[in-house]
Symmetry: D2
Subunit: 330 residues, 4 copies
């Protein structure tokens, strides 16, 4: 059996998914849609998919599922339309920048019984999964404290900041999801601090570029997140989980792991340049999990609900920074 | 010239300082005082110092300086007495658990013009100093975010918790000082969360054994501290500083740095068992700095004021946890 | 343009190459040949290639190139036949276990002007290439000493030893090639010692399972190779190059790079299980280089001559062990 | 009980031993002898020892033991004289550059029953001892292959080369001893290659600056030694032991273990600058072992015989390089 897919949105992340789809023989990309004809054409050329439109994909009974990589403000509408059309849906985070809109979208999805998976790619990173497995295997005992370091190589342009919902909704949202994945308990409080240390333009837009966040769970487990929009040495992605019997950590991955020793010391090359290269294996495993869920007719994970919770945590963080308070999560 | 020292308190940390004194030829331990005769005798045997009393040391014109390692509740009184007696003073942190008492003690010290140095040993660790030097050399640009991981190998007994002032005043206080040392700006706000995950008895005493803290400075620099009273793998002491041009980190030190590879993987031995072995070089360098200050007739650093500020940050952290609020520092 | 390939031999290494071919869109596997129908079928199913025969591939004008993964004793004949048929040839090492036969085969290839590339996959490993690049960039100055550690996870079965030509011809041959690649000078002497420490059956077959080899070049550069047929901790593949200005090393690669800390220490998982997983990227880059050579109509590298030299070094090592002498290379 | 020591030779290594003696309270340096008055005076000032002469030390019944750090060509005579005088003897390697002279010296020592210990400091390095312990504990099974990397930061002056006996007798001799310590079997054959790659002056003196050596034992265990007189990145001292159940390695030690990450990569500072700083703990433990042997009235280890064997291996290596042959050890 082959799952036939349409890709909606042929931008940076669309290309990543097109490549991931090509790595799973059970998946076939048959259609690609983008307002920019050139972007769609490039992926069509690369993959053999046809160029199509939203409406045509909706009506095409031969298409089993869609990969939504369009701008954020289109996600909820597209999810609802494709859910009603009976397609399985993979959607990049977030469902919507507005929690109420995201919730109403999820309600529609539930009515239709559509399969939906949210694009929290890091859960599929083999190293992070190995961390989770070490926890599941009891190697570190009961989880107590999670530390997540997550820094982008460079700040995005102001245009992106304007529509992204800000650092907590576009960047930390991944860390909120990974924190939940590792804490194994729901988060009940959020405290965040944010500063503008990297680029004053970010501050002018009302956003932050440097943030520290503390999350707690009902039983008192704690997670710390450290974010920056700039890391000169590459895409910094580390996690560490401390438990009653020990600790487990996933260090940064490197594209080339040599070390040169000279009179100036021992030098290893910088990290990956960004998520496209750092998480190649994760994106492939993510699509594989999506195909697995379709083939086995089970609900995909992470779910739309996971997406909603991460978004609520992002909102709480923003409120915490702005009002300088600890925010309780309902 | 030889500086003649008296050691007040011959317990665990007293022994550490006796050993450190022995490593600097310019220092000579001539007297040791302790309520427990056996403890004093052990150090006297080891060092050749005479067993003495507080009063005798006060009156002994041949003693230049005292090392105060007695219980915390005696620190302020001893500092005042020895300051008035014209001795140079090295005192283990804290001056007092009560900020007002610490302040009044400092006032006395100022009146007398006595030299006083607080026992923040970590500032003298060669690896942490190398981190500081990398910052000073401009290698990472402007400091933006500091991350401190500080975990004890095991929880102290309830008796200790009762008199220590709790986790923030006895353990995190070192991290507050190191955060200040690395941030290079005064801290203006403290948020802390605390849980009891390690030992319920600690909770019964009103204290916490697991804590996460966020500090900020006026310009928006941030520091994160992660504390636990238990780390099965040893005494976990790491710092990392992220700046505009890069990052610098000091990893854990190990007593033995071999690695064994078998079918089960690659294994390195656990970390140092506690501060006495981890910070041997730091304790020696600390005494050396104290002697330097005496010989050169300059004010020692860290000062009593540094001790007071760290104590205030500890109080703020406790208030933050208890009242679930962000605490501003005056 | 698409290069149309036939795969001769559908065994373990054949599967590796089939997968590598699938990763380069400019290459298309159109035929697969194997005496074992099931093996051929498996690859045909996986890739869409047709099952074929040697003769049919020879006569098929639509096939541009062959990948020879058949048993070693068929290599020379197949190379000659396909060279005469005007196909480009990629052949697994060695050309033949007999130097004279390998030489006569190369003579035929030269007459025909056929393109031929030898399967020294390690030259294409991104980490080893980065080592080579660091040398080329002058980072370590003039190359002086090369150290190669190369250990298999476990000994092959006696059946393999019987036909492989022994440890120097089937295993060390890769290290000889990498030594040449890194030394940047031809090797003029070989000294080897061999022992049977892993499996007595290997000794009964006249072979060795543990070997140490020293190579030298005309100008006095030195290479050391350490080989074992058993490494409980996985496939151990390390190189280090020492030069006048410094040193560069490529450490082992790991399938999962987490570390678990407990009271027993810090443990990282074992290495890759063998070459199929360790050198995935190298095999893909190797095929890419082969396709590049075909497309650009240039001689592929490493060449048949490189294969012959490595074989001569293997013969020299065997002679050195058996006769306990230093062997000069003509 | 305090062991009273005289230090013969107040040069570079004499200073190292004076410092080591000061770290063991059971040892007291009471006399120092050197032809250069200033050198002797410096150590006398530092330690409180008296300046003395060989003859005075010989006749001084209050001196229990001597530490011989004089030029190599005086070692054998001094050993004999002090053995006859009933002193315990610690002597820097080698006993003599001439095997026959060393042997006759050992004969005299045996007659007198004097305690003698040879200065192979590396056996006392805590990391190397931990490697040995891992072997003794059975963690890696049966020892099969030992790899020793030993590179000096820079070449010694020609004056030193002239009297040192050359690279094998002054530098590799330590590696021969460590190889024996780790192989746990006597060495039966030596093959060595030597080149002049670092400094042509060394070649003009008939010596080598870059060497690779293979040692084997009766049962076929193998050791590889890699030596260079120059390592721009510091004093490179690594060992690795491969066994039937696994492997154990001691990596290089670093004076400061921080890492700075910038756009140019991750950089750790260079290694220790030489043996005085790298082996501080080893020198202290070595003296402690010497004092232990005296206090417990047992034969010290490593013995004069260990020194003789290492010297014979050095001679064998030199013969191997010069005659291009494998040298069997009687």
């Amino acid at each position: 059996m082959v799952t036939r897919l349409a890709l909606l949105g042929a931008g940076r992340i669309g290309k990543v998914h097109a490549k991931a789809i090509a790595s799973d023989k059970r998946a076939k990309l048959v259609a690609v849609v983008d307002a920019f004809a050139d972007a769609a054409q490039a992926i069509a050329d690369e993959t053999g998919a046809n160029i199509s439109t939203i409406d045509a994909v909706l009506e095409n009974a031969d298409i089993d599922a869609v990969i939504i990589c369009t701008p954020t403000n289109t996600h909820a509408d597209l999810i609802e339309r494709f859910a009603r059309a009976g397609k399985a849906i993979f959607c990049e985070k977030p469902i919507d920048l507005d929690v109420a809109r995201a919730q109403s979208c999820i309600d529609v999805v539930k009515e239709t019984g559509a399969k939906i998976m949210l694009g929290f790619n890091r859960r599929f990173d083999p190293h992070f999964r190995a961390v989770r497995k070490a926890i599941d295997d009891g190697q570190i005992g009961k989880v107590e404290m999670v530390t997540i370091t997550s820094r982008d190589p460079g700040a995005p342009p102001p245009e992106y900041i304007k529509v992204s919902g800000g650092i907590f909704r576009d960047m930390t949202i991944h860390d909120f999801d990974i924190a939940r994945y590792l804490l194994s308990e729901e988060i009940v409080s959020v405290f965040a601090t944010g500063s503008v240390l990297v680029d004053p333009k970010i501050g002018e837009l009302g956003d932050y570029d440097s943030a520290s966040i503390i999350l707690t769970t009902e039983s008192g487990r704690q997670a710390i997140i450290s974010n920056s929009r700039r890391a000169t040495y590459g895409y910094d992605q580390r996690i560490e989980v401390h438990g009653s019997l020990g600790s487990v950590a996933a260090e940064n991955q490197r594209p080339v792991s040599i070390e040169v020793a000279t009179k100036d010391g021992y030098t290893r090359p910088p990290l990956h340049d960004f998520f496209m290269t750092r998480y190649t294996a994760a994106y492939a495993a993510e699509i594989t999990a999506f195909i697995d869920a379709i083939e086995n007719d089970v609900a995909p994970s992470p779910s739309a609900q996971d997406g909603l919770i991460a978004l609520k945590l992002a909102d709480a963080a923003l409120k915490s920074v702005r009002e300088k308070v600890l925010v309780q999560i309902a």
